[in-house]
Amino acid sequence: MDKCIACGACTKKCPGKKPDEYNEGIISRKAIYVPYPQAVPLKYAIDPEICLYLQKGKCGTCKKVCPTGAINYDDKEEQVTLKVGSVIVTAGFKAFNPAKLDQYQHGTLPNVVTSLEFERYLSAGGPTAGHIKRPSDGKEPRKIAWLQCVGSRDINKCDNEYCSSVCCMYAIKEAVIAREHLGKDCRPAIFFMDLRSHGKEFEKYYNRAKADGVRFIRSRVHSITEIDQSGTLDLRYVTESGDIMNETFDMVVLSIGMEAPDSIMDLAGTLGIELNQYHFVKTDDLSPVATSKPGIYVAGVAQGCKDIPQSVMEASAAACSAGISLARARGSLVREKIFPPEKQITGQEPRIGVFVCNCGVNIGGIADVPAVVEYAKTLPGVTYAEENLFSCSQDTQDKMVEVIREQNLNRVVVAACTPRTHEPLFQETLRNANLNPYLFEMANIRNQCTWVHSDNKEIATRKAKNLVSMSVSRARLLEAVPALSVNVDKSALVVGGGVAGMTAALSLANQGFPATIVEKTEELGGAARDIHKTWQGQDVQKFLKDLISKVENHPDINVMINAEITGASGFVGNFETMIAAGGNTSIVRHGATIIATGGQASETDEYLLGKNPNVTRWHDLEHNPDKLKKAESVVFIQCVGSRDEKRPYCSRICCTASIKQAILAKDLNPGADVYVLYRDIRTFGDREVLYKEARNKGVIFIRYSLENKPVVQEVEGGLEVLVFDPVLQKKLAIQADLVNLATAIVPHDNEKLASLYKLSMNEDKFFMEAHAKLRPVDFATDGLFLCGLAHYPKPIEENIAQAMAAASRAATILSKPSIQVSPLVSQINAEKCIGCGLCVSICPFGAIELEEIEGKGKRAKNISASCKGCGLCASSCPQKAIDMLHFRDEQIVAAVIAAA
């Protein structure tokens, strides 16, 4: 397998054909294939089911065609036994197959596609290269309909009563992107029951889509019929006011839900872990990633329907749990790669070696490689030039190390593919040949030359020569850049003593990293003190008590209450924070910082809260449930202060909390009338079960809209709630002796903290993570992590998972004695610098500070660990006093001159 260089010669000639699973069967693929051009590992695999040679011993053309002889037909499956300390199940999910739902006729009507198929139509690497075409006649669709809850929240045609919690969002995304592709006359419409855009920034995305012309129709489509041979479809549905509508659409997308993968059944059997009734792995709320068997953990959709950010958080949380149980064996099986000593080349005349690659036919077939090599030899400073068939193959790498040593080269230029993928590979080869890895330059003569000018060989060759001369002129000026590593203080600081903060501190301390908790108030616990039961009924107060006792008695955790952070400095691995507690200020040194400042239910003056004792907020009821027992008529009002102009976000936990209390009210007093006034019921994921249970117990759900909110007024003998009921099309007046408001969850005031640590916040004052999906618990600046309500409102089990995730991310830094930092940083020439501070204000990473030098006043100084090498400071410095290592002004200009 390591001979294959994925040049694709074999797949062109291969006769075998099969529907391509990657493209959802829209197009077919060969027997020898790579799932998609960016696959990792980028190696071709043979599909035994349709390979003529493996089936009938015929053909074998791929072996003949393969330039590197990488085809090995008798590569059989082999059994490997591994001894491991822990197992993490991240088996993912299987997309629901809508064939069972005959009313949508997926499979018979060509223009009814699933959302995954539509993703393939949308993507540039898909079967239609991103142009959306109707499967029936290839024309661009004008009206597209998305049908929500296909295979979710449905117990008559399939047994998935849960909500898959992501379909509403991806339907909106596909509609918005479709409009981008097809232009403004494309009319997307989404048919839904409850629009569940509950995650961070999701509500704003939903509002933008509405403003951008996506129609949202609250109705479940009854059936789809084809009305003409071109494949146009007619949808039959009932609107809320009860009249039956028919509307034609060019294309229908079924927002299919998620199911447990088929392989999970026997996997659970072999591992001995329990599954829940939907075949997802069973976990309990207060240890969200632990399965029923100790040492085996689960993360992602294998545990239940969730979106990518939540899956990534759980992935890190699972890694943290495994880390805790194996803390003693950390680093025992990990091998450190040792490189030969580095040869000093300063002051030597440049002796440049140019290696031009053929890359099989990709370059050699188009550019005249020998001519490029001859041309390279004529360039000043080049002492050696050669041509290789495949520079990136292992044998050529070893040959290059010898050539570098024999020819005593001190600069290397490789003319081949893109440095973005292969630069690290060649840099490692340089290090094996005693050369500093930054004495290396790549000329991209494949992706940006031969592949894109393949119709004119002569021009491609000339451009290749020019690119090589640019690289050589730049290489001439390259200099060794010493590696940069920073030692790490193996302890962490946790800001905030709620459940999130405590879980993070405990997770780190149990891995041997001491943690300090800074709590503003005088006791630990945070918002969790107001919660009695999780949505699955587990006792939170007991969990909280023993969490607090574990934290307070843990030898490696130092708790500071009534403490406030007054100053912070330093960078990843070497932070210093000033904390004022009880009158004196102490300095804590730590390698990582976890922000868990939490949040709280917001105040409001709406609906007579505070003016009438019978108008309560959610946690008031948690503290004295007897208020519910006495009440004969209870009204819950949702989205109080959430999802409006002031706070355009959803607080996520209120629907579940209110419905849980509504069920409790009905249980305590079956005769009582219980109402829930809502805008969208967002009991995402398995919580849908609660919504069904509440309806079965007779809780009445009435929808209201932002335009005409319900009104609560005092009347003699209690309260009266006026609300317009869209189903009955009438205004109702409900006599209520208890009104409970689900007020928005807001973060605590983080302004000061944000300025101290240079953290950014979104406009709702929640902290902004580095990347919503791929780094959901990291901050942009390294060494700072985020978890809990301060990131975004979330139920307690997600808080715990995110806290463990933050601990795991912090552990990736704290577990190393020192960490390598990219050495390509800015370099400041103290003579030229006048200390104007412009660079400090421009630097997005806080990687430059002004330093007092006696006698000269202030001078800029680079914090190399935080510097990302973007170069904004260098290009904006009025004195031109800043230069970037490896991207110096004169190196860039040299390449420009060679280009002209």
Binding site: A124, A129, V452, C836, L838, I842, S876, C877, P878
Partner: protein
């Protein structure tokens, strides 16, 4: 700012294209490449000797500390206001920047023209294409800052030279 400068120098802002794209928008990159090449081809070759002086002046302008200051400070001043607490909106700030840019560019052009041997305002105007009134106005400024000096009168025309 650089495009504005290229316009001033008569080279045309379409010789510099600024684009933003994500790493997945391959087709868009190909279209941008084609669009840029066609736009520049339509403008014909950049005649080096015709505008070498303009380019030199542009180079000096771009290296000028004051201009670089104005560009660097734009973001912080338009968002947080200047040292006197006055708030600036972008268009107003851009006007000041353009004005300073133009003045600095013309100053450099005049100095270069004088180094090229022109001495009278009319000769400079012919060589640089800048209006006579503008040149005399700027020359007074250059004299005051010691970058040019008045060489005396030769048959009723004033002669200047770069310092």
């Amino acid at each position: 700012m650089t495009q504005r400068l290229l316009d001033l120098a008569g080279i045309g802002k379409d010789r510099l294209h600024l684009e933003w794209l994500s790493s997945a928008e391959a087709q868009r990159f190909a279209d941008i490449a084609k669009k840029t090449v066609d736009a520049v081809r339509a403008m014909g070759p950049l005649d080096q000797d015709l505008c070498s002086m303009q380019l030199e002046a542009a180079q000096l302008t771009v290296d000028n500390e004051a201009v670089r200051w104005l560009v660097g400070k734009e973001l912080s001043i338009t968002s947080k206001g200047d040292v006197y607490g006055r708030s600036w909106d972008e268009t107003k700030y851009e006007e000041v920047l353009d004005h300073a840019l133009e003045r600095e560019y013309h100053n450099n052009l005049i100095i270069l023209a004088m180094k090229d041997g022109c001495s009278s305002v009319r000769e400079i105007s012919k060589r640089t294409g800048i209006a006579v009134l503008r040149i005399s106005y700027l020359l007074a400024d250059l004299e005051r800052t010691g970058r040019a000096e008045f060489k005396g009168m030769t048959d009723s025309t004033a002669a200047f030279a770069a310092r």
